[in-house]
Structure formats: structure tokens, C-alpha cells
């Protein structure tokens, strides 16, 4: 009789441990950011971002070459914030569509279609002025990681996709190590 409650308690503790570790892992990327010169300033407007981006020597890049790139946080460990899925045009503005992992960070399991009441991956639209090219990656320069996660979700077909063969200009940035 006493073995069943004990095993139930152990299972409960194991689940709590896994959840705690998951939250801790997320906290490494979602916590408060240090603020060297290149770090995004909270509350930057799109014109602020555009002015800063113009000083990063924008270079031509094929839109199709941006899809699939990792979006990195501009700090020494370069944590991964999400993955670029494509670019869209909203009026005169260009936005980079980024897939953010869910709170459990299980996107790598290929469970993108599962939305566990807000825990699953979602798409957000980041102004192109807020990002810079970091080699084969993209760095988030105009928004903090907290600002990125605060962006509203967008539907995949909510704006006109820019074709992969189109070329846009994006600023560049050096590695953060």
C-alpha cells in the first residue's frame, strides 16, 4: 500500500525537476541583458533603429539566404533567440519573421505545430532595421530579448512575403566574443 504513494511522489518530484531545469535554461536567454555600447537600448523607435542600422554599412543580401538563419542576442555567449523564417513587406516597412521557441524550448524537437496554451513556438515580425548580419547568422541589435518576446504573434500569411530572389540591404556587425 505504501509503495504506490512513494512512486507517485517520486514521479511528481521528477516532473518538477524537469520543469525547474527547463525554466532555468530559458532564463539564460530571457534574463536581463548587460548593456555594452552595441547592446540594444530599451524603447528604441523604428527611426532610432534605422539611424543606427545605417551606420552599420548595410550590405546586399538575398532574402532566400536569410531564411533559416539563427537570430542571436548581441552578448558574449551569443544565445539563440529564434530562427528567421522569411521576410514580409507591410506597406513601406520590411519585417523579418522570426520563429520563437516556446517557454519549454522544445522547437528543436520539431513540435512547431503544437501550441501548449502559449508554451509552443510562435512567429513575430521584427523590423529589419532591428537586425544586423553576423556572418551566417543574424543579430538582434534594435530590440532587447525582452522586447522581442513582448512582440505580438503574427499569422504566417498576414503580410506579403518578399520573394527569395529579392535582394535587400542589411547592416553588418562583428562577433560579440
Amino acid at each position: 500500500m505504501s509503495a504506490r504513494p512513494a512512486s507517485g511522489l517520486a514521479a511528481c518530484l521528477a516532473v518538477c525537476l524537469v520543469l525547474a531545469l527547463s525554466v532555468a535554461a530559458q532564463a539564460q536567454t530571457a534574463g536581463p541583458s548587460p548593456a555594452p555600447d552595441h547592446m540594444p537600448v530599451p524603447g528604441m523607435t523604428v527611426p532610432d533603429m534605422a539611424a543606427r542600422a545605417a551606420r552599420r554599412f548595410p550590405q546586399p543580401v538575398r532574402v532566400g539566404d536569410l531564411a533559416g538563419r539563427l537570430l542571436l542576442q548581441p552578448e558574449e555567449a551569443q544565445p539563440v533567440l529564434g530562427r528567421v523564417t522569411g521576410l514580409v513587406r507591410r506597406g513601406d516597412a520590411v519585417a523579418v519573421v522570426v520563429r520563437l521557441d516556446g517557454a519549454l524550448g522544445l522547437g528543436w524537437l520539431g513540435l512547431q505545430r503544437i501550441d501548449w496554451s502559449g508554451f509552443g513556438p510562435r512567429l513575430v515580425a521584427v523590423p529589419v532595421e532591428a537586425v544586423a548580419l553576423l556572418g551566417e547568422h543574424v543579430a538582434l541589435m534594435g530590440l532587447t530579448s525582452e522586447g522581442l518576446r513582448a512582440l505580438p504573434s503574427v499569422a504566417p500569411d498576414s503580410a506579403a512575403a518578399i520573394p527569395p530572389d529579392a535582394t535587400i540591404r542589411v547592416g553588418i556587425v562583428r562577433p560579440f566574443h
Partner: protein, 257 residues
């Protein structure tokens, strides 16, 4: 104020006397263990222990030995791997010892390449004169000492061709570079004469963009990335060790691949 963590009843002090031999053994063991750990830590963090002292000189001697071994192993006829154009990263990765926002573009029309040292014809070169020299393209892997890499497509005159054209002493030991961004650098003559060492003027068949070293930079397949100075303004052929920006900060000089 009484600490909330202080127990209401404290142990009898006599318990320490009863176990004093055991405590002494534990302290001795901990001291030995701590000493060993400190010694190991000193070895592991040797770079910063005393750079200007004996440790720094010892590390510098080992680095110089590494340079000699790398030079002895270097095969001037062995080519580095080349890659298909489909693998080329466009645009290439930017790197410097400062942020990209601090890049100061060079005026290509006013730019001149100065020559010095063991060179017969020291007349300065213009961008147009360099463009008339034979051009070679290489698609090679750029390997950074920081741990990242990418495939890049570079074109320009082979440094060997240029050195031959200006009558450089090809038996000299070093080729040194000065740059517009105050990033002095130097390589050994054998690497300078390697067929995959270029004075690059193009990336992906287009003129070098400003932040990547326009109008002239070094690109060699046989050295780490930091040995490829951008915005070159002067070349010197010499037998005196010229050093370099990162080398004077402790980086290995030869830094071959």
C-alpha cells in the same frame, strides 16, 4: 540582534577537545588538496599570471618555438582546399578590433600603396595600376582564431606576382603591412609567395565593399583570419621582425593553417 538561524541550544564545547585529532587530519588534508588545486590553476591560467615576468617570458619562448615548428612544417607547394561558388557566404562576416560603426572608409582615388624595405622599385601604386595586374580568384575557408569560419570568394593579384614585379628580395624573411586602421601585420616570405596568397581587391567578383578592406587587403589561405590585414596602405620587405597588432598582445605570430 540574535540571528534567526542561531540554535536555541548550542553544543558542548568539550566536543571539540574529544575530536581534535580528527579535525587536525581534516585540516592538513584540505591544505594539501588546496595547494594542489592552486598549483593546477596557476598552470591553467598561465597566460595572465605574470605576463611581464618569468612566466610571460617562458610562454613567449614556447610561442616562438611553435612559430619555428610551424615554419618548418609549412609546405609552400601544398594548396589549401577550395570550394564551389554555391558555398560562398554573401556578404562575408565582418571582424575587426573595433565595431563596424567605427570603420573609416578609404578614398580609393586618393589612395596609394607605398613600398619600403628590400624592394628595388619603391614607386607608390594607384588602384588603377593594381587593377591592370594579373588577377586570380580563390574560394577558401576563412578560419578565425575565435572559433568561427566561413567560405569566401576573393580575387586579386597574387602577392608573389606583385613582389616579383616591384623587384622585392624574395629571400628576405618577412613581408610587413601597414593599414589605414592602424592594424600592422606581417607574414613570413614563404607564405607571402604561396599561390593562394592574394592582394585582394574583390569579393564575390565585386569590388571590395568598404568594411571589408577597400581598396586592398591581404587574403591568404594559409593563415588564420587575423593575419589578413584590411585597408593596406604600405608593404615592406624586411629581415627585421615586424610583429603585428595582435602579436604584440600575445597572439602566436606564424598562425598557420
Amino acid at each position: 540582534m540574535r540571528s534567526p538561524f542561531r540554535p536555541l541550544t548550542v553544543p558542548d564545547p568539550g566536543i571539540l577537545d574529544d575530536h581534535r585529532p580528527l579535525l587536525r587530519r581534516i585540516e592538513r588534508r584540505g591544505f594539501l588538496r588546496g595547494g594542489l588545486s592552486l598549483g593546477a590553476l596557476t598552470m591553467l591560467t598561465g597566460c595572465d599570471v605574470s605576463d611581464s615576468g618569468a612566466v610571460g617570458r617562458a610562454l613567449r619562448a614556447v610561442s616562438d618555438l611553435n612559430d619555428g615548428v610551424q615554419a618548418a612544417l609549412f609546405d609552400p607547394n601544398k594548396l589549401a582546399p577550395e570550394y564551389p561558388a554555391s558555398m560562398v557566404l554573401k556578404p562575408p562576416r565582418f571582424n575587426a578590433y573595433y565595431d563596424v560603426e567605427e570603420v573609416k572608409p578609404v578614398d580609393g582615388d586618393a589612395w596609394r600603396l607605398e613600398l619600403a624595405g628590400l624592394i628595388t622599385d619603391k614607386r607608390p601604386w594607384t588602384r588603377g595600376q593594381i587593377a591592370e595586374l594579373p588577377e586570380r580568384e580563390i574560394i577558401i575557408r576563412h578560419v578565425c582564431v575565435e572559433g568561427w569560419d566561413y567560405i569566401g570568394q576573393w580575387s586579386g593579384v597574387p602577392l608573389r606576382t606583385f613582389l616579383e614585379r616591384v623587384g622585392a628580395d624574395l629571400t628576405a624573411r618577412y613581408v610587413a603591412f601597414k593599414t589605414a586602421d592602424d592594424y600592422p601585420s606581417s607574414i613570413d616570405m614563404a607564405s607571402a609567395l604561396h599561390p593562394q596568397t592574394l592582394l585582394a581587391t574583390k569579393y564575390a567578383s565585386e569590388s571590395l565593399p568598404d568594411p571589408y578592406g577597400y581598396p586592398l587587403r591581404l587574403r591568404t589561405a594559409v593563415k588564420l583570419g587575423f593575419k589578413n590585414p584590411k585597408w593596406i596602405t604600405a608593404i615592406e620587405v624586411t629581415n627585421s621582425y615586424p610583429g603585428g597588432y595582435w602579436e604584440s598582445r600575445g597572439f602566436n605570430w606564424f598562425s598557420g593553417l
